[in-house]
Amino acid sequence: MDILHQLMMGFQVAATPINLLWALIGAFVGTIVGVLPGIGPLGSMAILLSFTLKMDATTAMIFFAGIYYGAMYGGSTTSILLNIPGEAASVVTCIDGYKMAQKGRAGAALTVSAVGSFVAGTLSIIGLMFAASILADAALKFGPPEFFAIGAVGLLFLVRLSGGSLIKNVIMLLIGLALATVGTDHLYGTPRFTFGINELGQGVEFLPVAMGLFGIAEVMLTAVEKEDLGEMIRVRMRDLLPTLVEWKRSIAPIFRGSFLGFFIGLLPGPSPVISTFVSYMVEKKISKHPEEFGEGAIEGVAGPESANNAAVGGAYVPLLALGVPFTPAMAVVVGALMLHGITPGPMMMSERPQLFWGVIASMYIGNVMLLVLNLPMVQLFALITKVPKPILLPFITLLCLVGVYSVNSSFVDLYVLALFGILGFILRDLGYSPAPLVLALVIGPMMENALRSSLMINQGAIAPMIFRPIAGTIYLAATLALTVPPVVRAIRGKKKPSATV
């Protein structure tokens, strides 16, 4: 009952004209970002951080939630119509979505994808509402050892689940932690790695690093890639309605995708991307017609598209309840909150209920907006992919440069942007993922503080830090989650050859 009361209050906050306007702008911008290949929700959120400077913190959060959800909606459009995923979470949709489009069912695929995204988004918000409330209450019992455990385990999962080379992910994570130690030590006031530069006393700013690694590096990588846009499949309004059979086949995958997506969203790492692959595999495995997958099965669109939207809701849980971002996009949200002088954490729900519930209520509204916005304007959004690179890339570069400068009016921030832009291009080109670095930069100071406080409380003893009920459970759960699957795979792998013999 209390949650419902709070949610009503949240709707009052979210339904003010200014918040509605920014939710709509966020949804619109997010859809465009989702449609444009290369520029993901993370890069765009980082680029647009400076636009939130004059906003109220709640409005800024509503704007960012709109971008994140919008990107998930928009990503499917180009996957279905052009066979080009607008962002990583829509790669799976290309497989069956484009095949459906080739068979003249693009409209049905787009509608199922939009409706699935809407249902999943709504269900995940309900999940977020309850999970965040419960977790935030529990987190009030957390001490420094628990927060260190969450940070350490979160980063461990991140390097494991980020994909690509494990060793490269670990290196990026450690570089991120190293960067997090730059600045004045808050306990002793000792300057660390500041090289006499006053601006570095506050630490390496998150915004220029994130913009460099995700915005500028993306621009440079896109500049060297060949432009290869295929022929776009046109959709008429009357083709948007799926048949009764298509609806029937989509309902269960939408609900399964929502459920899977929300829980995968709770994990650190690129959860929206992982959720789409898991959902696709599950749908294929339980389907009565697995042979249709890859040839235009509507379940292959409905499940993954629902899953990636639900994962967004899940990703908000650790941030809103614990103040710990588990995905790079959530790290940008933390950056935005910090720009407004707010440190997210378990107390946010009780100290700033208007912000917490306003953002949640805006997600409901944003989902309705996206559904209304996306279907009638699908052709228009798809046309955005035709914006030529020579005009798009300089504009993004300009936004990054002016955006970074505008936050602190600092020339040092511009040099940091340049450094991480160039480094980001080189490292990403060689397969180093920037996500662990960015997350470690955000979580690093919290981890260091928690570790030092824990050690001081326990007079240097490490065992009492680990063998506490909550911290111990976190470490045990993480150890099991990271070790059991490889062991099971190894056992199965050993059994298989002997069975064939």
Partner: protein, 155 residues
């Protein structure tokens, strides 16, 4: 080759960072100093970076990975990023932004010289209006910026 250079670069960074960490007060476990956490991170980074570099160099015939970094477009963008703060400091916002934008448009071969010129001019003015007028950001001002702000009634 690129993979080797980068792995060596990371190794050097780890060494320098470790030396820097140890120059700070490390303290004890019961009384951690300012350098303790950095030293722990540096130690792990050094071990992993050394292993990574060893693995990279062990490959007998490494294939050239990734894109060509010396292509005109990324090199030009990198140069624009480095020079923008210098230009911004000396030439104020409008002139420096116009120059960088125009160079980028030409570098990426956007239509003709005239269209690039006009696009850069219009975009610079639009960016100035949005950031100063709508978002209230203070950008480095010169004569032209002062004139525009006066016209907009914002000085």
């Amino acid at each position: 080759m690129k993979e080797r250079i980068v792995s060596l670069g990371i190794l050097v960074f780890a060494l320098v960072y470790l030396a820097g960490s140890l120059s700070l007060k490390v303290g004890t476990l019961a009384q951690p100093g300012a350098g303790q956490f950095p030293a722990m991170v540096a130690f792990f980074l050094l071990v992993i970076a050394a292993f990574h570099a060893w693995r990279t160099f062990r490959k007998t015939s490494p294939k050239e990975e990734g894109h060509n970094w010396t292509q005109l477009a990324p090199a030009g963008i990198a140069a624009a990023l480095i020079f923008y703060p210098i230009l911004l400091k000396t030439l104020s916002f409008l002139v420096s932004t116009f120059i960088v934008l125009y160079v980028l448009l030409r570098l990426l071969r956007f239509k003709t010289t005239l269209i690039s010129f006009l696009t850069a001019l219009f975009t610079t003015l639009l960016a100035f209006t949005i950031f100063t007028g709508l978002l209230g950001v203070t950008l480095p001002n010169g004569f032209m910026e002062g004139f525009i702000l006066k016209t907009m009634g914002l000085d």
